[in-house]
Amino acid sequence: MSSNVRRYRLLFVTAALVVGIYEIWSVFVAETAAVSIQGYHRKAADDFGEGVQISQAFQMNANSLSAIDVQFSTDQPLTLLVRYEVAEIRPPGTYEETRQAIRGSSGYLTVKQLSGVEWRRISFPLLEGSDKRWFALRLALIDAIAADEAHPKLSGARPDRRPRVGLMISRDNVFGGGALWIADRRQLGSMSLRAFSHRRTAYERFRADLAPTLPPIVRNAAVELLMAFAYAGALVIVVYALLMGGVTSTPTSSAGASSDGIPRP
């Protein structure tokens, strides 16, 4: 075996291992949002900094909704006090309809040391049976103070010296992006939002929400893992053969054809 082939083989094995470890990490270890809404073309909704309420309706894709991440934006380091409300609603129609909550949770969130554009988490008591249900998240800024706390409250500052505080929203409607309101006005686009269930990983949510819908034979975790690993292993073998020359056929002709498909020399 030439040293070049050995080197390529080592490179391939390393790449396959890295990809494999990344996949295992992203499926079994990393926290994964059940719903992720983020448009391609984003901007900060500065109305939020003026105290205007911003609402986003979305359909949840997992049971036990427990936390929502939103993206705040500021032009200087700040600490924010935000009032939030998470409510289960009927599929959104008018703004008034989204106000008619079936159940929900509300409270205050202190967003500390916010600088630039950052994701921050709103955690609340579990909302069981949330899969495929519609929810509305409403956010309103109560106050903003400088992060170093050496400065007085900024809400009383002159308008030209007030910091800019915003919520990141998109200007485009994305698939599964729900509905966005600023005050009671329906808007194009969506709030940047990630909703989580209390099951952290993609695999845990798959087992809890999707595996029960599968045919009985593939509901077993061992069978599912076996299938996934068999598929991944087969992919590695075929790609290795393609890149390293394993997928080769000896010259064939119709005269040399064989019934088993293996070309005869």
């Binding site: 394993g246 997928v247 080769t248 064989s258």
Partner: protein, 440 residues
Amino acid sequence: MPLRSPAAVGRLRENSSVVSADVASVLLLLAFLFVLLHPSILNPFELEPHTAWTIHCYTFGVPILVINAVVRRRLWRLTPFDYLLLAYVACAVATWPTSFNRHTTAMAIVGLVGQLVVYAAVRQLAEVRPFLARVVIAALLVGIAMLEWTAAGVHLRVGLSARLVDYPPLDWNGREGLGLAAAIQFAFLVGIWQRARSSAVQLASIVLILGVVVELLFLYSRLAWAAAAGVMAAAFITSVRLGGLRRYAVAMIVIGTLVGIVGTPYMAHLAKMATGLEHRGGESSLSFRVAAWLDTPRVMRGRILAGTGLGNYMAYRPTVDMPRSQHLPPGFPEPLHPHNAYLQQTAETGILGGLSYLAMWVTAIWAGWRISTRPGAELAIHSGLFLAVVAIAVSNLGENMFEGTERLRLYSIAWMVTAFVIAAWKPEPAARQAPVEDVV
């Protein structure tokens, strides 16, 4: 240090610039494969998606063409396919002055040229480095598999007994877009299964074939099913020609058994609707397609030679006064486009353009047949490429798979596959043993 002659130094410099050109070309190819298989079209400049993808095509193709033209000072030998392609492009461009909407046609021509730049770049690379076909097929196999796994969550959530109706229009997980991507993956795998020598590779390819069959079935895209059926039919013919009927039969039995196990009554209903054996249901039946096909001659009336202008069929059709087709099922809206790429091209680019387009695809299939039945070490690769061309050509009989933003990237895949096929196609095959570097 040994003294070198000026000629040797010149050769050395030339070689090093060839190596640099190759490295740059391969890096550009890998970058293009990444954006091609990314879940959604990358659009950092917030442009209209068609424009964004066209820019990707130019950004990939133009540097490769320039680099190779400078370093190698040649392009490629022309084949009958290239002449037909030139004729088609000439007809498409000629529609602009008389187009129903010149702006749309101009944008469509810019997009078409972008796709042709991809074809030209890949063709250039395939001529000088045929090995790259393996890299592209490997990337497509892995990339499409990852897209299928990503989409599997959505499919499971929708439910296994329902079609995926709503999906992100710019993403890869649309029913027909991902369906045809899966059919292309299926074609490559069947090619590898049929012609691979190693039993480990055979076993691995049949495992992957089973995976893609499950995905194809539950995407409920009848065009993808038709494309897969076309692949199996073409694979049968190559088996008759080259041998390997037993292996083909094994694949058919395994696939048939899997379909029998996981198949649902809804799948049978859809298949019957598609073949005209059943007419009741919310999905479009064969008669809807027939109505769409028969609309085309009426749309073309008065514009047989000039066409409506590239990219204008859907804008022009509502302006044509025509009675509701008797084939159209009750309650169905009138079809907006002919659901057939060849008919649509004929209507848009005129009869000559349409014939050139059709002849181009026939030539590509012929070239694919030739390379997939020719002795050589790359038989599995060529067989996969041929079957992929068949899959795309078949699906375009029932739908214009290149229409719409979701399918822009399918168009690029089609051009890439065709470029490898045409580059490997030699009218007079050289009867030689494969050299070692072809095998490794």
